[in-house]
Symmetry: C2
């Protein structure tokens, strides 16, 4: 998977769960092709070719191109939810947990930006059922962050007049890292994560002691 | 242009400058096709068809598909720069000008999100010269916002340890509105603009008096 590692800044993609090896290689090839040319401009033949396989071999694992996108989107959203849930349910004050949620979410979007772009920009290409499933996961992602913000407000640690809108803005800020982040740029994923955690604590007006 | 108005929430696209009428219709058709299917999956034949014209008629106005994308990207970036420059050079304190810059930039990304998505997501499809031109415009966009932040810091109105990173985050927050904004959603472009102006003043720790 040297190509996948290269496009993700050296980090391993969250595809370990995909077996057998041929199914995983096809998924990695699909992510790359969708990111490079867009979902609609990519054929299953392109994907099979990138994976060094025949179109017939692809159909053993995936019946349609949409099934590949659905699988990628599902795995990406499961991972995003897992990252935010881990941060939300950790020990510490709301400010500490919100900062950790932002740091880890930013690191994911910077490190796995090829996957993140496909997951974020090709939602409209999913069929109704797959789309409904992914939107339900997105509501859970939103609820994890909103939960931390609500706890901080209840504890008197945060001052947030619009919890729903601020939660959306926090997630949006982190997600857009996938659009602009550049491995050749001046900042590492960890540095962007640290800056963004500070900016988000400012957005919720975290008490200096709480932060 | 009823279709274009529909996809942009009733706002008129900034294409008045494009003449003659046929060239403008082709540009609007290209924005819609690129937004819907992606640049690489769209042919000049698709674009001509959407505009109710023949491929031969398209070639009178645009030699290549890339020329259409370049023109769209150029107009979009010129408009973004104009919006931020107007806010940056208005009367008022740095906090007032930063808030107005965010409000108007958010309104643009919410109201013209179809155009904004094409402009933001299809940069990689531009050739080297067009890309260099657009990247120069993006540096100017960045400089307008950074200028307001620097003035606020110099005046003692803002507290910003990382001016460059914070400027990037402010722009990123506004740009990502084009990804998630939904005309059927609970907030109007003006409401998102007002919320985001408040969040950005928090990000720069604007003094309450200054804000």
């Amino acid at each position: 998977m040297s190509t996948a590692q290269e496009t993700t800044g050296g980090e391993v993609e969250p595809w370990e769960q995909v077996t057998p090896d041929a199914a995983r290689r096809l998924l990695v090839a699909a992510v790359e092709a969708f990111a490079e040319r867009g979902y609609h401009a990519t054929t299953t033949r392109d994907i099979a070719g990138r994976a060094g396989m025949s179109p017939a071999a692809l159909y053993i694992h995936y019946k349609t191109k949409e099934e590949l996108l659905h699988r990628i989107s599902r795995i990406g959203h499961d991972k995003a939810l897992d990252i935010l849930r881990t941060a939300a349910r950790a020990e510490g004050s709301p400010a500490e947990r919100l900062a950790e949620a932002v740091r880890s979410f930013v690191r994911w979007h910077a490190g796995r930006r090829t996957t993140a772009r496909v997951v974020q920009y090709e939602l409209d290409a999913l069929g109704p059922d797959a789309r409904a499933e992914i939107l339900a996961l997105r509501r859970q992602v939103d609820a994890e962050v909103r939960g931390i913000v609500e706890e901080g407000v209840a504890a008197g640690d945060f001052d947030v007049p619009d919890v729903q809108g601020t939660t959306l803005a926090i997630l949006s800020l982190c997600i857009d890292v996938a659009r602009w982040f550049n491995v050749g740029g001046p900042r590492t994923p960890d540095e962007v994560g640290a800056l963004y955690a500070d900016l988000v604590l400012r957005m919720v007006a975290a008490r200096p002691a709480a932060a």
